[in-house]
């Protein structure tokens, strides 16, 4: 279970402090598939990065299964069972797909096990296992490899930052299938996805809408979606003008 208590985060822009997350509190129970949505700049990605420990809050607490992890670094949080899929996956010269999967699994992964993770994300394992994670891979391929690394980690809490970004329409259908499968096999772990995609929102147990660094709405997709659909962004035009 993930608990966030009174979390605030700010950046300094042109010598002025700008608060991105305001006194945010949130609990995500085990076994839940939660989607966080909201307009650009609402603080979604920042919140995910705060949970992973990539950013440090100015105040507030983050607890994982009752343990205060606020002061812990990225490595410690990863070891405690948090994993993170980047919005823009990182490229590495010389590191192969199987190397990254092996590092993710944290053990000497057999080639057949590595291949099974790749197959799950719709990549023909034979073609990819020895490829370097460099500029020769497309955005969509990198995204799927990124998701495969999370499958290999099998952690308590999986965070996905806009998994649909940079993915073509064909890959997107596969992506939905992957998330549906993950949801059906969730058991004691929990999954948090930052997304704008209606199809991903529809399969959530709970949808959380962020606006200006605060939770503006939360509820089941049936409650939240009718409000969001038909608008260009999950806030009204008037709200945007303000």
């Amino acid at each position: 279970m993930l608990e966030i208590k009174g979390l605030s985060f700010a950046v300094t822009e042109e010598e002025k402090e700008k608060e991105i997350i305001h006194d945010l509190s949130l609990t995500i129970e085990n076994g839940k598939f939660v989607v966080i949505t909201g307009p650009n700049g609402s603080g979604k990605s920042t919140l995910a990065r705060l949970i992973m420990g990539i950013e440090q809050p100015i105040s507030g607490q983050i607890l994982l299964d009752g343990q205060d992890i606020t002061a812990l670094g990225i490595t410690e949080r990863a070891k405690l069972g948090i994993s993170f899929a980047f919005q823009q996956p990182v490229r590495f010269k010389g590191i192969r797909v199987q190397d990254l999967l092996r590092l993710a699994a944290g053990k000497n992964l057999s080639v057949s096990a590595a291949c099974s993770y790749l197959s799950e994300v719709g990549l023909c394992a034979r073609d990819y296992i020895d490829r370097e994670i460099n500029a020769s891979l497309s955005g969509g391929e990198l995204k799927r490899i990124e998701i495969a690394t999370l499958l290999a980690r099998q952690t308590k809490l999986s965070l996905f930052d806009e998994p649909e970004a940079g993915i073509d329409l064909w890959s997107f259908q596969n992506l939905i299938r992957i998330f549906e499968k993950m949801r059906s096999e969730i058991q004691d772990s929990s999954i948090v996805i930052i997304s704008h995609q209606e199809r991903i929102l529809q399969i959530a147990d709970e949808v959380i809408v962020l606006a200006d660094g605060r939770i503006s709405r939360r509820g089941s997709p049936d409650e939240i979606l009718p409000e969001l659909i038909g608008r260009t962004a999950p806030v009204s035009v008037c709200q945007k003008l303000q």
């Binding site: 992973m52 490595t75 948090i82 994993s83 980047f86 590495f92 010389g94 590191i95 590092l103």
Partner: protein, 308 residues
């Protein structure tokens, strides 16, 4: 029979991945003396008359054979210059593994300068692997100054893998290649310097015949206070294509100078160079840390991959 002590055996393992005496032809040199030699029906190794090195003759048409010529120095204060000439006959397909390991626990400098010349016959194919390694905690420096010259005849090809990852204090590496029509040269250099080491690597590749191609790629890492200079020039004297690339990671207080250069003397010479120097990207470290690696482990993985 090869006579080597424990330190020398360890050096051999580092530079040639050899745990026992290799199959095929070999010539082991330890502390300036011959420690073992084997020749085959197709590959002959003879000492030069003045004792300055060896000549390796590979008969035309020799396929799938290998030659190992490792050199190890485990005595402090030893300085030597060795001339090895390889005559590779037409239509051969062979692997040549060289390399030098120095263990210096003393206070005097140890130095090995290997001058290797390759005369590659028409249509022959050669893979050349050279690894350099240094160990020992003495104050004496471990110095390696190799010179490699390759003369490639029509439609021959040579692939060079040069690796120096650890422990060599000072190196000045010169590589010269001259390619006839249709010849192909591929160079893959991997270099890491640490401490206060200094490394220079210079290439002069002349593409003299129509259809000659060269690809010279260097990847290097400079740590601590070490410094590196990479100087690669490709000259196109005919309709040809050449590419040189220098990609470096700089760390700590390292210093890297990359000077790729191109010279064209023919309107149909197509030459390209690339050079990049940068530190390890922060998001690369963060990504590996999210997999549970410490910052130091992440750095090691990134460097290992980069130097693969």
């Amino acid at each position: 029979m090869v006579k080597l002590d424990a330190i020398q055996k360890r050096l051999i393992e580092e530079i040639a991945d050899l745990h026992s005496v290799p199959l095929g032809a070999y010539n082991f040199r330890a502390n300036g003396e011959l420690a073992g030699r084997n020749t085959t029906a197709n590959i002959d190794i003879v000492s030069k008359e003045n004792g300055s090195g060896i000549d390796i003759h590979i008969k035309p048409g020799t396929k799938n054979e290998s030659v190992h010529i490792p050199v190890v120095l485990s005595a402090s204060g030893l300085k030597e210059t060795v001339y090895n000439d390889f005559y590779i006959g037409e239509d051969c397909d062979v692997v040549i593994v060289a390399g030098c390991g120095i263990d210096n626990c003393g206070s005097q400098d140890s130095e090995h300068d290997g001058i290797h010349r390759f005369f590659v016959g028409k249509n022959a194919k050669v893979k050349y692997v050279e690894k350099h390694y240094g160990s020992g905690d003495g104050r004496g420096q471990r110095i390696l100054n190799p010179v490699t010259e390759a003369y490639l005849e029509e439609n021959s090809s040579m692939e060079m893998e040069m690796e120096q990852i650890k422990g060599v204090d000072s190196t000045d590496r010169q590589t010269i290649a001259k390619l006839a029509a249709g010849a192909k040269l591929v160079v893959k250099e991997r270099l890491m310097t640490h401490g206060s080491q200094h490394a220079v690597s210079a290439y002069q590749v002349d593409l003299n015949g129509a259809g000659a191609t060269a690809d010279v790629v260097s990847r290097s890492v400079a740590r601590d206070d070490s410094s590196q200079t990479f100087n690669a020039r490709i000259t196109g004297n005919a309709p040809c294509s050449g590419h040189t690339e220098c990609d470096s990671i700089i760390m700590d207080r390292g210093h890297i100078l990359a000077i790729p250069s191109l010279e064209a003397n023919d309107v149909d010479a197509m030459l390209v160079h690339e050079a990049a120097i940068g530190k390890i990207a922060g998001d690369q470290l963060v990504k590996l840390m999210t997999l549970g690696l410490s910052e130091q482990q992440a750095e090691e993985q990134i460097i290992n991959g980069f130097l693969r």
